[in-house]
Symmetry: C2
Subunit: 698 residues, 2 copies
Amino acid sequence: MGRLSDLFAPDTVALVGATDREGAVGRAILENLQSGFDGEIVPINPDRESVLGLECYPDVASAPPIDLAVVVVPPPIVLETIRELGEAGTDEVVVITAGFGETGSEGAERERKLRELATQYDLRVVGPNSLGIMSTPVGLNATFGPEDARDGSIAFMSQSGAFITAVLDWANEQGIGFRDVVSLGNKTVLDETDFVREWGDDSETDVVIGYLEGIDDGHEFVRTAREVTDETPVVLVKSGRTDAGAQAASSHTGAIAGSERAYEAGLEQAGVLRANSVQELFDYARALSGLPEPDGDGVAVVTNAGGPGVLTTDAIGDSSLEMADFTDETIDELAAAMPDEANVYNPIDAIGDADSDRFGDALEIALDDPNVSSAVVVSAPTAVLEYDRLAELVIEASEESGKPIVTCLMGGQRARAAEEVLREFGVPNYFDPSRAVAGLDALAHYREIRHQSIDEPTTFDVDRERARDVLERVRSRPDNRLGIESMELLEAYGIPTPDGEIVDDPGRALEVATSIDGDVVMKIVSPDISHKSDIGGVRIGVPDDAVEDSFEDIVARARNYQPDATILGVQVQEQVDLERATETIVGMNRDPQFGPLLLFGLGGIFVEILEDTSVRVAPIGESEGRAMIDEIQAAPLLRGARGREPADVDAVVETIQRLSQLVTDFPAILELDINPLVAGPDGVQAIDLRLTVDTEKL
Amino acid sequence: MGRLSDLFAPDTVALVGATDREGAVGRAILENLQSGFDGEIVPINPDRESVLGLECYPDVASAPPIDLAVVVVPPPIVLETIRELGEAGTDEVVVITAGFGETGSEGAERERKLRELATQYDLRVVGPNSLGIMSTPVGLNATFGPEDARDGSIAFMSQSGAFITAVLDWANEQGIGFRDVVSLGNKTVLDETDFVREWGDDSETDVVIGYLEGIDDGHEFVRTAREVTDETPVVLVKSGRTDAGAQAASSHTGAIAGSERAYEAGLEQAGVLRANSVQELFDYARALSGLPEPDGDGVAVVTNAGGPGVLTTDAIGDSSLEMADFTDETIDELAAAMPDEANVYNPIDAIGDADSDRFGDALEIALDDPNVSSAVVVSAPTAVLEYDRLAELVIEASEESGKPIVTCLMGGQRARAAEEVLREFGVPNYFDPSRAVAGLDALAHYREIRHQSIDEPTTFDVDRERARDVLERVRSRPDNRLGIESMELLEAYGIPTPDGEIVDDPGRALEVATSIDGDVVMKIVSPDISHKSDIGGVRIGVPDDAVEDSFEDIVARARNYQPDATILGVQVQEQVDLERATETIVGMNRDPQFGPLLLFGLGGIFVEILEDTSVRVAPIGESEGRAMIDEIQAAPLLRGARGREPADVDAVVETIQRLSQLVTDFPAILELDINPLVAGPDGVQAIDLRLTVDTEKL
């Protein structure tokens, strides 16, 4: 078995706070431990000599060596108990006791101390406020829940203990088994990232699933999960997706919720499959825990009933999968094996009088087709169809072909026994064709995740010192904002900006304008004036002979608008040919959990009205930068739709990557917007810039 | 009971083709009839004197009077049997026999004759190729399926017999009962519209559900269903939604599928709730068949478990419902009734040690709140919570408040008995919080359907004769197209067009231009040149002194491009101020099932790249016209986003209605596009027009 830690494979489990008092949590856990644990159980309680027939020790010090301690003593005694466990050399602790961060300031202080002690003694602590843990290979049920788990290969963590009790009974009934179950509680020490890592390293865990209300360190989670998901699928329900849900989650866990878009991007980048309901979570898990990886997206549908066959086809049309196109050979073979009325094209309809063997033949022929990578077997109950026999044939076909098959044997009781046979072999049966296809789709998504190459972020040659100097200027500002006067920041990171200069007299303005080909754009530069155009602070298409007058006029308007405004000068800038170019926005803000979140979109209505944007957690490599562009609906506009010249998309991708590097290098940058970044056929130019800097982090 | 027809309440049922031969369909039906039918069963078979203990008649003529005849004779004898039934005065017939339109030309001919006979004798025929029908109030099971239906108030029709057998066993297990079940078969005579009408008139039918692969007469269905859905909810799975599914459905039923967008619009306008899977169909049906109508969208969530509470809140966030905002009074009452650790804001968390009574109290207090229109009860199993008692309290709360409650009592076996208690009272229990909320959401959608006022189409004062004259011109065309030269068609229907005229010499061009204020637009008018701009056939901003030269130049370019093109002249048109206006597209095409389908969108990229359009089946009234605009994502642009002047939206709505009237008045118009229809602050103008006309229908 070779577990990497004693948490899930202890020889000795101590229960600190064991009791035989009816209704006590300490008794419920002990009974659960006694119900099946293979190793030694050590009750600890100073008031008992024995508990439920087991010798009881007065304290940790007098007990035999402990691999795993389960702590259920009252809140005020928890810290002392932890210290004793640390002194005694115990590594793994589960704290069931509640009354920590979830209850107010006293509890929060207790939780802080718990974390300190864990660090001091190098303790791995689950909880506090945990329902407990289970590990079926050693028969361990160290929870106070009413249910035991069935054996299986699914590792399951939950931030809600109730979620575990709510699904276990149902899962048992459905024949869904688990390897380990962990109630994460307050996640004071061990959190989702630790368990994803641990299960990722465990060869017997087929799939990791979880219910989470928040991820403490999104950045670390993404890094870890990305590695794990290369070998082991991870499926999560992350609740608090909607505004209402986020508010409810925050009041439930006391944690500040990160933004849903950050979770969406971060989990996607981590290769995590996301489920939106309990049913989806287990539907995906069942497919991912038992089926081989498909080698493509083509699906064969085999049915004895037209209607359900069409429903299945619709579900495939909705998914990332596609209906396989049969070869002529397959069609000939199917025609030879089936009656004339049958449909030998996909979906194969073996028609109502099909017995199990005809079904099996059709399935075997379909799976032989090189265009078929997986199959859905959908059946309506009939007088001639024996479900048990059909289940055997499905298993045979699956073994022979090595291709994944999911089934939808419709009908309640009639399908029960066959369902059990299929389950033993790892073939999930679903009640509804759309759920069967969703299971197969999860498998296809996971295949995509495994095979996608996530390139490392490119490290561009940049002038970090110059960038730091620009950022330092924020110290002289009343607020912590920088604007267009800081375009050098972009230049230092190799992001193109138009030729030009900020000048403070009309004469210099003219000199700069003369050195630039063609007309210029002039803009007031003032940290106090944000809507420059609205107050007449922007002039476009200024010919050289109007530059001096324009300077005076722009400054006068600014003074007039706000007499005490700090005016840093007037920017005289090369005029970009907007006819041939497209305005885009490249930006960043920092998420409390995931860190820098990059955003891309087309400017104007596309962002403001259509909300057509893509996001990623930085740092990103080239492929993710490119994906950010492909993801927006309006992407064809950049690529040259409707007779336009295509924009230099490579330059946009490079700009996003350079921005990724900038905001990763400088955690002091809290928010940054390049708006617009103009993308033309021959490259990009950043026209305007705004950022917010945290001087403490400089 | 008072059924409107004998189909579902016959006193005498004849089975033509009854037999006692093992494995025969005629025996399976007879056994099903004998298993529970309250009335008289009349077997008919010339080769038997008695069948399964019943006296058998040699033919229809010698049998006693028959209310309902079920026909299962071989295909060649079906027509003769139908004639005999017609002669004998039977009104209701179910044809089980297959081998009609679904099998080829011989079968299609037989089906055509069956339809003729039905018309001749005024017979109501279900099928052919039907599994049969059921009606639980009279114990009628006239199918050859293996299952009987439980009693209930759901009427269920299916275009796939297999779909019925596939769900009945499962439905029985779930305790889902039916009033009537109909396998529609080939729908030669009676179709979905007939049954929607019949069940709409039946006071005991709470909800109509169906599985359809196509709707034969979409227009008639919409008209009928719209009336029915005012009183009785209709939920349909219409399969073949996706391209792949449509292809599969078409090969399965042999019917030409209408477009999915037409179905989407038509079913929505008919007030039909659409389900996309078997599970959704029954999840909605369970909510709609047992619960009272909510009086608003505010939902209270009551739970004993934070996690599932957050999941439920997320599901509400995803739905059309909203989390109710409790009054201060409610919060005070909840605080008084519950322990300090409980959450008294919505979602109410009665916490893990809540017994059924605390749960019940919280529910009662919440339902008393005027902001609460419905409730979801979500529970994880605990040692202190008795599900049976909780079920009783839920029922009490539901009765006292008159507000709908759905439950999600999680846990498998533990919840079974409580679930049964709830079901008896009409409260649906769902395994997953998201499904519970979906059930409630279906109820809210149905409420919206019932309360929305669908205004009648406005009849504008139009010049129908002039329009007909314009359409007649198509007879002189080599193809059946008309273009910009036919703008009078729009004028005849009161749709504004710019001032101007089609002229055929430079002099007249100048006269027209002079009569128009400002510059003009000039366009070549030729049925043979569709991309006028590309060949230099359009000039904008032409001042009067350039009109004559432009005329020559435009004509020369057209000649040069295509020497043999028919040139109808050059259009000289008032130039519309596009700076202040927005380009829109208003169009129509004809769907084989639903008839004229109106389309609206903003021009250019919005339609071509973003596919941001809305559709409706004509004719429509003002409110639907307005909804077409509100539905598109880019609607804020018309309403004056980003500092623009708002367009005259009323004029756009009126144009859509006028077009609706035009295409309804003239079925000869197969397709029509006004592109662009320019919408400015002071009204709209149709700038260009194309249409296709079927001369046979003129």
